[in-house]
């Protein structure tokens, strides 16, 4: 991750959710996110927070592979299965590319309990790659 990208992602929704990047390469992007503050009324991790972590990691992976900021990457679709719940601690998301074409990418993102490693969710994100309009 370039310094420019590093600064960019520490703003907006990512900061609000407390997502902290761990590893950023073209083959693997990982981050952790706390459960506290990202819950729904019954105290479980909000599925939307999980989707946000997934979208963030796939986007950063796509940005690295496509060459941001010259290229812009936009989420086109996300399809995620919620497999277990989390009520405390933090979760870890790991994004890996399934296919990185010139105009479209498909990334897989698995989310696990950061302490136990138990799978919490698994999602797929389709990213569109576009030229940046100056």
């Amino acid at each position: 991750m370039t310094k420019e990208m590093s600064v960019a992602v520490t703003d907006g929704l990512v900061a609000k959710l407390g997502i902290e990047m761990e590893e950023v390469t073209a083959q693997r992007v990982s981050a952790v996110m706390p459960v506290a503050g990202n819950t729904q009324p019954d105290g479980f991790l909000h599925g939307g927070a999980t989707c946000s972590l997934i979208e963030t990691l796939a986007s950063i992976g796509a940005a690295v592979v496509a060459g941001w900021p010259e290229k812009v990457v936009m989420g086109q679709a996300q399809s995620t299965s919620f497999l277990s719940t989390a009520t405390s601690g933090s979760v870890r998301g790991v994004a890996t590319p399934i296919r990185t074409g010139r105009t479209t990418h498909l990334w897989n993102v698995d989310v696990t309990d950061a302490e136990t490693g138990k799978i919490v969710a698994s999602g797929r994100v389709t990213m569109a790659v576009r030229e940046r309009r100056s």
Copy 2:
């Protein structure tokens, strides 16, 4: 929406995103969410914020239909297409039930630009309905 539910949803992720409920019935749940503060590095509405709005509305709809808090509703899957971008103002999400079975619901949620009405995203959420363990 009962007062109990109303209080419950104004905590956690929902509050953080600035989601404000508009209408809550068994047939239609709507809310608005600001774009500002929920963006990704290029200034567009973060897809994860959109997913969070979608998950929230489907969950509240399922809670109303199933009879929360006696029943607990949990997201099982979300599949969302991002159709256009938003960079300012706010977006409106409207959830409607496709099928509400005893143990599983499927809800559709369309997200539009709150000012222009242009479609921003369309998602499907599968919700599991469970008895609350005392």
Copy 3:
């Protein structure tokens, strides 16, 4: 549906599944498909047959809107929920456009029991529109 398209779709997988087109316009594409012969080992309509009906209808709709055969339309993704089962008779699929952009479409396809009208499945198909290479 042009005569050319009409002939084209009566070949390959569509013929094998017994899909019979009913209505083809830019706003609505419908067809019926028999359950018999399209089942899985327990005698239920095979989910793959349902997906095939959904993919077919969305593709024909996209072809009509995009202007096939000058343009080629290719399925990019399908996301379908199976909501009830069918063991006899036939099912009807109805495709309607959610968004038809220049290079990408999103179509919704609902599948119902052709006799009772009960919903059997609901799916979303993302179609890519490309120029035909001569």
Copy 4:
């Protein structure tokens, strides 16, 4: 795969598509399917055939793990990305479990060109496991 299951899957849609099972274990289910006869009007492998292969493999995997025929497994949802096209030869699908719970499974199925190994599609199938009603 038990002999009973082996006989069962050689009927209905599976036979029509020419799907031939290769390996069936609780950890991996694979099969090949010819492109010829399973195409859409432009001569490409029909996305519905791809979905059918994916649904079949996930279902057989779920049936093996859950203990068919005492248990019945039903597809609840499929979400598939079509990543490249195939116009001849055959494709291979390989299903692997992501999570196999008591009442719900999530399976991943990758489809590749059987000759070149190039990825054609990648899908997720959610399976519901139920007791068989006598």
